[in-house]
């Protein structure tokens, strides 16, 4: 394997040009650096497009505003889903894959040409998907359940995009192989790279499943296949659609560890526990896509229960472990830094003014409390009937992919800008506020959508006043209030998101250059001489973590309480069996 690789990439090796990072001592391949930059920029552009569409959707759902006409609402809703859930997130993830492989391992990037091919395919796919949606004949929503049919361009664009992403994932694997062969690091790969590796492995599974379902669907849309069974489609599509969310979870958790390490010098409490929790994602998380089919006919209860839980919720356990070890490692680091008073001095004196840290910690808390707990409740066989396809569902996943993943990526950007783009962030005072604006906005969106969902408001619904319908029905007044508040918080998140885009683009274009000799304003508790083994696990058995114990205690109590409240609601429904 190494021989083949060395043969194929020999010339690239000679061409690879490195620079040495003045802050971390890491050797950075300039090709990898350029690819990180272009992927990050593409991500931000798609975030802008998808974010604007999302804001329009939220303003239409606000009954008092009701901005868009029905056809534009459904069109924008489809566009919002693919632009932010696929394109923004995946472009950013490609940047993270190159960062965690080539940069963190001091290695040259494997086959940069294939990485560029992947990037071009992804851009072509992204642009084509927007073309398909804006044509107006592909308002089939992100899920595109047949027999509802989009234009062939829609399915083709997703296939091209997925192939491009697969190229990037292969470059990531290739870089790991080269790094090992050329001994650019000692021992095992770092935890953050390990997390990215789990994401990459899940990505392969995801793309293959996507091909299995999207290729026949494309052939169906051009008339070569007569029929796509809707339940078959839904089952396989979710093995792709849900697995792709597990890529996000893995990358986002890797980013939590990375930011805690970069900003506070945090070390994992134990590498064994954190890595095993990542492994659980590979083994259990992406297979659990059955929870999207809990309210469907034709599947047995045994199948549903087994596949959502694998008998003991091992994937949920993986996330619960990270939810404890990340704050635990931060507490341990802060206590070593001298913040030892009481249970929470470490948290009070944390660098809340640093947008990277603030965004990361908000992402951790919001993902756990909002996205995590609601996800388990939603994925419980019987409880699903209470909220299946109601506004509760987008409420849940805005808690995971917006307040969780997107916020984590934004936080990471505040480190990528100085370290990779080598620019000082413009308007640092505004940057300080950005994660709070976006995080609280996203949290509000999630909570109020979930609230409206429990009152029965359906998702993907243009008009909850039902004025066009033959018979009238009034949703409760509280539902109207919640959809209005959803709009208010969407404005707030939109403001935070817009600020993020302005800060990022502004920094890339106008930020003070950090690669010249006289400027060195950054202080990181970083090691010099990247790739050396420097971590000692000072925490195991020595540092006490009362703050973290209290935090996870509060989390667990909320989880149990909310779980049983929903069973109480369920028991009051009409009887059905």
């Amino acid at each position: 394997m190494t021989a083949i690789d060395a043969g194929a990439a020999g010339s690239t090796f000679k061409d690879a040009i490195f620079r040495t990072c003045r802050y971390t001592g890491l050797k950075i391949d300039t090709q990898a650096q350029l690819l990180i930059k272009v992927n990050a920029v593409a991500a931000v552009i798609f975030l802008l497009v998808g974010g604007v569409m999302g804001l329009m959707v939220a303003l239409t759902r606000w009954p008092a505003v009701h901005l868009l006409p029905a056809d534009w609402f459904y069109l924008f809703l489809t566009g919002h889903g693919i632009n932010v859930l696929l394109f923004w997130i995946l472009f950013f993830e490609m940047a993270i894959l190159y960062f965690t492989s080539a940069v963190l391992l001091n290695c040259r990037l494997a086959t940069p040409k294939i990485a560029w091919l992947g990037f071009v395919l992804m851009v072509v796919g992204g642009v084509m998907a927007n073309y398909a949606v804006l044509r107006g004949d592909s308002s089939v929503m992100f899920t595109s359940y047949p027999p509802l049919q989009a234009s062939p361009w829609f399915y083709l664009s997703l296939i091209l995009f997925a192939v491009g992403a697969l190229c990037a994932v292969c470059v990531f694997f290739g870089t790991l192989v080269i790094a090992k062969a050329e001994k650019t690091y000692k021992g095992s790969i770092p935890l953050v790279t390990f997390g990215a590796l789990t994401a990459a492995i899940i990505a392969v599974f995801t793309v293959v499943t996507g091909a299995i379902i999207l290729i026949p669907t494309f052939l169906w849309s051009v008339g070569l296949i007569a029929n796509i069974d809707p339940l078959m489609y839904k089952t396989i599509w979710w093995a792709f659609g849900h697995a792709s969310q597990q890529i996000n979870v893995s990358v986002q958790v890797a980013i939590w560890y990375a930011i805690a390490a970069l900003v506070l010098g945090a070390k994992p409490l134990s590498e064994k526990v954190s890595r095993t929790a990542f492994l659980m994602y590979i083994l259990f998380l992406q297979l659990a896509s059955a929870h999207h089919l809990l309210a469907d006919p034709g599947l047995s209860s045994e199948w549903k229960i087994l596949n959502t839980s694998y008998m003991m919720y091992l994937a949920v356990m993986g996330s619960m472990i990270h939810g404890m070890t990340v704050p635990g490692s931060i507490e341990a680091a802060q206590r070593r830094n001298g913040y030892t008073k009481g249970a929470f001095e470490w948290l009070r004196k944390a660098p809340w003014g640093n947008p990277a840290f603030a965004g990361m910690f908000l992402s951790l808390v919001l993902f756990g409390f909002i996205g995590g707990i609601s996800g388990v409740v939603l994925g419980t066989e019987q409880l699903n009937v209470l909220m299946h396809n109601t506004m509760y569902v987008p409420g849940h996943f805005h808690g995971t992919v917006v307040a969780g993943t997107t916020l984590a990526f934004m936080a990471m950007t505040y480190l990528v800008l100085p370290l990779i783009f080598q620019r000082e962030i413009i308007w640092p005072k505004l940057a300080k506020w950005q994660p709070y604006l976006f995080g609280i906005g996203a949290a509000g969106i999630s909570m109020f959508m979930m609230g409206a969902g429990t009152l029965g408001v359906p998702r993907r619904y243009w008009d909850i006043t039902l004025t066009d319908a033959a018979t009238s029905f009034e949703f409760p007044a509280a539902a109207y209030m919640m959809m209005g508040l959803n709009g208010v918080f969407a404005l707030m998140a939109g403001l935070g998101g817009g600020l993020y885009i302005v800060l990022t683009v502004g920094t890339i274009v106008f930020g003070k250059r950090l690669d010249t000799a006289e400027t060195q304003p950054l202080v990181f508790p970083l090691h010099a001489g990247g790739g050396e083994v420097v971590s000692t696990y000072g925490s195991a058995g020595t540092v006490k973590l009362p703050g973290t114990i209290i935090l996870v205690g509060i989390f667990f109590a909320s989880f149990v309480l909310y779980y049983f409240v929903n069973w109480k609601y369920l028991s009051e429904l009409w009887l059905f069996q």
Partner: protein
């Protein structure tokens, strides 16, 4: 640090922090509990979605619904038949863009065998304000036993996107003493 290689190449041999171990045990036991509670609800609970499903051609299902409506029809509203099936009867509901057909009149406390399928696209049966939500797929006839526990007029909205008129897809179930 998490961004540099671990101290020991074989990280599996590392010690585990006591707090971590405690939390792992709690998370594991809670996971086990949640798994068994889903199973338990099939025995102690009254809200479990039935597994009974048949494959059927959408046209054949439409014919069954029409025959059912004709058999128990008691009236008509805006061209839609009002149907009052006897307690325990097989009751057919048809989802089609953009309506739930026909209008049903049921009795509180009586059980009915509800059949649910679609004539065209995927739809979402969402009974409001009760908030029972079930997916409806064309080609699959889902059968479950439903017992209303309250009286009044209830609305079925569609909560699976089915096209431009999705938000106008409304049906009615009336429940009397």
């Amino acid at each position: 640090m998490a961004i540099s290689p671990p101290e020991q190449r074989i990280w599996w041999n590392e010690p585990i922090h006591k707090v971590e171990l405690g939390w792992i045990v709690i998370a594991f036991l809670w996971g086990l509990f949640m798994f068994f509670f889903m199973i338990a609800w099939h025995f102690i609970g009254n809200q479990n979605l039935s597994n009974e499903t048949y494959r059927i051609q959408p046209t054949a299902y439409e014919e069954k619904v029409e025959a059912f409506a004709e058999q128990y029809q008691v009236g008509e509203e805006d061209g839609v038949p009002v149907v009052r099936p006897p307690a325990g009867a097989d009751v057919y509901i048809l989802a089609r863009t953009y309506e739930w057909w026909p209008i049903l009149e049921l009795k509180k406390g009586q059980s009915y065998r509800i059949h649910l399928s679609s004539a065209d696209l995927a739809h979402g049966f969402s009974l409001q304000p009760v908030n029972i939500n079930i997916s409806v797929q064309p080609g699959y006839e889902h059968v479950f036993t439903l017992t209303p526990t309250e009286t009044g007029e209830f609305t079925i909205v569609c909560n699976e996107y089915c096209g431009i008129g999705h938000h106008t897809m409304i049906g009615t179930i009336r429940v009397t003493e």
